[in-house]
């Protein structure tokens, strides 16, 4: 392997317009994530009660279950209300929080009259290629992402 070679994975980019002022769009996105986050996308054993993003650089990003248990998702890298936030998504290919694993989620808010354009990007996905310590992480179909993806692929194939 050539260590100096630059490997990149295409970032995930989304852009949407919401009918609310910039400040409120930012507040609902960052401060109210638990109100809109898909409830089935949780790593907790009890139903998800909330998702918290501490509003400062260095803050935590985590979910809380009905039983009070917390599950770490990542951290806040930059917090510039109501314009932009940069978060570290630190759930690895096995859905485990790994402080050494880091992908970036950037959300930019731009006012357009009374509305707001939200630009979303999940990048540095090449980190998923670096988590392969045991030589099986991404290939292990029996747990974590593998099992979820397998079900997803089955579902997708069924529509054939």
């Amino acid at each position: 392997m050539n260590a100096t070679r630059t490997i990149t994975a295409a970032p995930i980019r989304k852009s949407l317009r919401v009918r609310t002022p910039q400040e409120k769009a930012f507040r609902i996105f960052l401060g109210g994530m638990g109100r809109w986050w898909p409830k089935d996308h949780s790593l907790l054993e009890t139903p998800q009660r909330d998702v918290v993003i501490e509003p400062r650089a260095g803050g935590r990003w985590y979910e809380i279950g009905e039983d009070g248990a917390e599950y770490e998702w990542g951290k806040v890298l930059e917090y510039d209300a109501p314009n932009r936030a940069l978060l570290a998504w630190q759930l690895n290919a096995e859905w485990r929080f790994d402080p050494d694993f880091e992908t970036e989620v950037e959300i930019v808010f731009k006012a357009d009259g009374d509305e707001t354009i939200v630009e979303f990007e999940h990048r540095k996905l090449e980190a998923y290629g670096r988590t392969d310590r045991s030589g099986q992480t991404l290939m292990d179909m029996d747990k974590g992402w593998g099992a979820i993806l397998e079900r997803y692929v089955e579902e997708a194939s069924r529509q054939d």
Partner: protein, 103 residues
């Protein structure tokens, strides 16, 4: 590890990502992909060759056709899964905004 690296090289080309996304919906033959995307049949074949070398897609013979599907053990599915996840999450965010605006 070699697989993971070649997967990222393969995913650096937007058309290959577009091909993967189509294949995530259902397995397709080269001709079908060329019809669905703004790219020639030989170009699709070339992209599929790269994707196959990176273990992102696999081919299967169906009668006289070769049908391609995403390889669940490859890396492409992770990106596709995340893409779908965020698509859904952001739609839910937009709904929440609308709901709050109505109150």
């Amino acid at each position: 590890m070699a697989n993971a690296l070649s997967a990222f090289v393969a995913l650096s080309e937007p058309m290959r990502v577009a091909i993967l996304e189509r294949l995530a919906e259902r397995p397709m033959a080269v001709g079908e992909l060329a019809e669905a995307l703004p790219v020639s049949r030989p170009a699709v074949s070339q992209h599929l060759k790269v994707l196959k070398a990176a273990s992102l897609v696999e081919a299967e013979a169906r009668g006289t056709r070769r049908v391609y599907r995403i390889d669940p053990a490859g890396l492409g599915p992770i990106r596709i899964w995340l893409d779908r996840h965020w698509e859904r999450a952001l739609a839910a965010f937009a709904e929440e905004v609308e709901r709050e605006e109505e109150e």
